[in-house]
């Protein structure tokens, strides 16, 4: 379903009305579809067979240097919604120190559609259930205590309008999936192995992505086999050693300790009361040695097939492909139009060029856009394959898949728990170890980066539940990460 001409005209009319009253900028997003379907087999029982359809309007108004926002799910309330957003902005302007702004941008009319061969919502439910049940059957064994397999399909059709005359239509599609097996180990503790649906970065984002065995279902037997070994394994002992993160763990390391600290709204202090701040400040750019010279990090990274590729953000800015960290030096942030304006005003100089990073995104029509990381990627390096990296490691562990993550409020330190570790001694993988954890301090950690795998090790792992903002927002994106090795890292827990 597309937006009606009558509705478009109503939105344009109301945009103009609010501007005529004195607003500095107005934008509106109408979602005709924000649909999701969740299917979950838990121990073979279909525990979730859910669909959710949402639609409505969100309006953002900049008035007197302050933002107001309002949303409604009632199509009969469009005029009131614009007026409520205007009044909210007017009230906000009464408590304002530094007027917020949006530098002028030329109007454009654009559209973006996620590459999809088969819309999952057109696939018969029975076919989807049969596909997942077949995976569940492969995960089944007498010794496996718990297992699940799930898939989630999303479809978001949105229409963006702003007072500059820009209009953008977007048809976004996402497919997420995960499978997990659990069993009790020799100490009575639950251990687990899992596999998420991941991508190579190429290809399409429809139902066909889910059914490619190499991206998902083909890993069922492997995780079962690894769990069988894990439940007989010893625990990882406390000590300093090298850690080699596979992309299934590296994506979250990047997400938490590069992505979030480089979101410009966090740097400017807008998340302090909730998610926290950042150890990065406006003087860090061009100076901070974030990591070793092997560290090259990009935003977006030209990924065709990712939930973090969306054409245009929720301010109408096109997504971009640019470096955040260049040979270890911090060079840019994850930005939106108003945050760039404010950062440069606060610094009294041009810290950032007046080109949005395309990071303003909202989880739904009823939330205002905030700075969200796009696809933040570690670029492939020159240290060969995973086997090459292992061969050059004296004492370390290979780690995969997160169990827990706890990050300092300014992202300056972290603690991760993983599902599995493989011990590495004198260049060889020896045995599996359970309950692996590691912790570190962000800048020290990335400066200990000693090996970055080549393109053969690079995978794109999807994130379907990045939480941020108040009111809270969930966002979808992905990270392309190669195998990466860090040295002298604290691993395991003290007795």
């Amino acid at each position: 379903m597309s937006i009606s001409e009558e509705l478009k005209q109503s939105i344009r009319t109301n945009l103009k009305k609010v501007m005529d009253k004195g607003a500095e900028y107005v934008d509106a997003r109408f979602y005709t579809h924000d649909d999701s379907e969740t299917l979950l087999f838990y121990d073979g029982n279909l525990e979730a067979n859910d669909t959710s359809f949402e639609s409505g309007l969100g309006v953002r108004v900049l008035w007197g240097g302050a933002w107001g926002f309002a949303a409604t799910s009632n199509p009969g309330e469009i005029e009131n919604c614009f007026e409520l957003a205007r009044r909210n902005a007017e009230t906000a302007a009464r408590l304002m120190r530094l007027p917020l702004g949006m530098s002028k941008k030329p109007a454009h009319k654009s559209s973006f559609t996620s590459p999809v061969k088969t819309d999952p919502f057109t696939v018969p439910l029975k076919e989807k259930l049969d596909f997942l049940k077949a995976i569940d059957d492969r995960l089944t064994a007498d010794w496996i205590l718990k297992r699940f397999v799930y898939a989630e399909f999303q479809k978001k059709y949105s229409y963006f309008f702003n007072s500059e005359g820009t209009e953008v239509s977007k048809h976004l599609a996402n497919v997420f999936a995960k499978m997990m097996v659990m069993a009790l180990d020799n100490e009575g503790q639950m251990q687990r192995r899992s596999q998420d649906l991941f991508t190579t970065g190429k290809g399409t984002r429809g139902y066909e992505m889910l059914t490619q065995p190499e991206l998902f279902s083909g890993h069922a037997d492997r995780i079962k086999q690894e769990l069988a070994e894990l439940i007989k394994a010893d625990s990882l002992e406390y000590g300093r050693r090298s850690v080699i993160l596979l992309p299934g763990q590296g994506f979250l390391q990047v997400h938490e300790t590069i992505g979030h600290p480089l979101e410009l709204d966090r740097i400017l202090g807008y998340e302090l009361s909730y998610a926290g701040g950042s150890f990065v400040n406006l003087d860090s750019f061009g100076k901070l040695q974030y990591g070793s010279e092997k560290l090259n990090v990009s935003a977006f990274g030209g990924i065709a097939n990712s939930p973090g590729s969306f054409g245009f953000d929720d301010e109408g800015s096109p997504e971009r492909d640019y470096l955040l960290i260049d040979q270890g030096i911090l060079v840019n942030a994850l930005t939106s139009r108003p945050m760039i304006h404010e950062a440069n005003e606060v610094a009294g100089r041009q810290v950032f060029a007046d080109v949005s990073g395309g990071c303003a995104r909202a989880t739904a029509f009823y939330r205002a856009p905030i700075d969200r990381m796009t696809n933040v990627n570690i670029l492939p390096g020159n240290d060969g394959t995973l086997e090459d990296i292992i061969a050059s490691t004296e004492d370390g562990v290979v780690l995969d898949n997160p169990v827990s993550w706890s990050i300092g409020s300014n992202r300056e330190h972290f603690h991760f728990g993983c599902e599995i570790a493989w011990e590495v001694k004198n260049g060889k993988k020896t045995r599996i170890l359970k309950n692996p954890t590691y912790q570190g301090h962000t800048v020290e950690f990335y400066n200990s980066l000693s090996a970055v795998g080549d393109a053969s090790t690079w995978q794109v792992w999807q994130v379907d539940n990045c939480g941020k903002g108040e009111p809270n927002q969930i966002m979808q994106l992905a990270h392309g990460v190669p195998a990466i090795r860090f040295d002298n890292v604290i691993t395991g827990e003290r007795k």
Binding site: F41, N45, L46, E47, N49, D50, T51, S52, F53, E54, G56, A66, W67, G68, F69, A70, A71, T72, S73, N74, P75, E77, L84, N88, T91, A92, A93, R94, L95, M96, R97, L100, P124, L125, L145, K146, G188, Q189, M190, G269, Y270, L272, S273, G276, S404, W405, S406, G408, S409, N410, E412, H413, H415, G417, Q439, E470, P471, N472, E493, R494
Partner: protein
């Protein structure tokens, strides 16, 4: 207040579905939300959301399907359309190995005991003025941020199993303001919670900052080395640890499936210290009170841990069906968990006299559970954290990581405050769903493991 027209639409669709032999439940979730966010001493976002959701669940023997739709509930046809989608999903669904339990609204409920019209309709300027007063009084030289969420929630539930109707109307608010020193980087917080507009006091926030600022302004930070410490957890930290501990130890699903830290225990086992008692009390004023759960079960006072002994587990409807357990009224995210207060002075510093060196950690940031079977949790100190010696504040402390087990912390309580505080634990992901725990204003635990610390706040 729900319109009679909506009740009539729901009941008409319910009765028609029942006549067709369909087993279905229908629930409405309607929220009127407002949130003001502060950043850099200014309002950074002022947002209003009026949203209405319809949830329909259909059970077809051992097959189930659910459908949620957002929009204005304007006609019988609108609800019937959602019903037909759920009916079709249930028809195609794979059958479960067990019989699902249908929603049964046990009795007619019409509750609004925690509803304040003034809070539901609070003017944003009231919030702006509150922040303004705090910022101007405490001082513009500091960087203030914060958020203030308020709103109302309506829940309305009927099912084809009978003609009962359950209706809940309540208001809630969650206020916080963070003060950060622009150069020294330390952060102080004041949080307030309640269901009435009058539960907020700008003066209380101002007083809390004025009490702490002298220590933070005058003394540099202390960096605890890894090791074991006596730690005083404030109410916010305690509530968050309890939430994690309950999630992994006191819910029926995790226990039945041997996933949590209590899975080796049975009801009646001593699992924690004598001075730890936890109850789900939907009559507790310090929590958000819900008289029924989303399965229609009446919610009543329910002991979880009594003097350290495991007394009860919290079962949702699906777990009850699968493991053949009686329903306990916990098919809801809005439990009213209450940790009973102790005997020790409300004045924490007075209580800490004679305790030697104590780390006071009022809040923990980014808690997570590296090992659910062992009940290991980890998180780092953030706001208002202090080093206290013999009841006297010595210095603020740098960001420090606590990594320990629920069992160890709650088995080694040497002090428990005699006064409870209400702590809001709501998140605002998706729909508005207020939840608050009532917990002692502080506890003191011995031999708590500090596993890392930063050189900064």
């Amino acid at each position: 207040m729900i319109e009679q027209k909506i009740r009539e639409i729901f009941c008409k669709v319910r009765d028609k579905a029942a006549a067709r032999g369909i087993c279905a439940s229908f629930s409405l979730h309607r929220e009127k939300s407002h949130l003001m966010r502060i950043g850099n001493n200014s309002v950074s976002l002022n947002t209003s959301e009026n949203l209405c959701r319809l949830d329909v669940e259909v059970i077809n023997g051992r097959q189930t399907g659910t459908h949620t739709q957002m929009g204005d509930i304007s006609s019988v046809e609108y609800v019937e359309k959602a019903l037909e989608l759920a009916v079709e999903k249930a028809r195609v669904a794979s059958p479960k190995e067990y019989a699902p339990i249908p929603v049964v609204v046990e009795e007619n409920v019409d509750e609004s005991v925690q509803y304040d019209r003034a809070l539901e309709n609070v003017e944003p300027s009231f919030k702006g003025d509150g922040y303004q007063k705090i910022i101007q009084t405490v001082g513009e030289k500091y960087n203030f941020s914060g958020s203030w969420s308020s709103g109302s929630v309506e829940l309305y539930l009927v099912s084809t199993e009978n003609r009962n109707e359950a209706y809940h109307l309540g208001t809630d608010q969650d206020f916080n303001v963070v003060l950060k020193h622009p150069e020294k980087k330390w952060e102080l917080i004041n949080k307030q919670n309640g269901w009435r507009q009058s539960d907020f006091s700008a003066d209380a926030a101002i007083k809390s900052f004025q009490n702490l600022l002298p220590f933070y302004e005058k003394v540099p930070g202390f960096k605890p080395e890894p090791g074991e410490y006596t730690v005083a957890f404030g109410a916010k930290a305690l509530a968050e640890v309890l939430m994690m501990g309950s999630f992994t130890g006191f819910y029926g699903r995790g226990w039945e499936e041997k996933q949590g830290w209590t899975s080796k225990n049975q009801l009646g086992d001593k699992i924690l210290g004598e001075n730890f008692t936890l109850v789900d009390d939907p009559a507790c004023e310090g929590t958000y009170r819900f008289g029924f759960d989303l399965a229609g079960k009446k919610r009543v006072k329910y002991p979880v841990v009594e003097k350290g002994v495991l007394k009860g587990l919290l079962y949702d409807n699906s777990t009850c069906a699968r493991y053949n357990k009686p329903q306990t009224g916990h098919s809801t995210g809005s439990v009213s968990l209450t940790m009973l207060s102790g005997q020790d002075s409300e004045d924490m510093l007075a209580a800490l006299k004679g305790k030697g060196r104590v780390l006071v950690i009022p809040a923990l940031h980014y808690l997570n559970i590296p090992n659910s079977s062992k009940g290991i949790f980890t998180g780092s100190s953030r706001f208002n954290a202090l080093l206290v010696e013999d009841g006297k504040v010595v210095s603020p402390i740098f960001s420090s990581r606590v990594t320990d087990t629920f069992a160890s912390v709650f088995s080694n309580l040497s002090l428990v405050s005699s006064v409870n505080h209400s702590i809001n634990l709501s998140n605002t992901y998706g729909r508005r769903a207020p939840v608050a725990y009532s917990v002692p204003s502080y506890i003191v635990a011995e031999k708590v493991k500090i596993t890392d610390s930063a050189d900064s706040f």
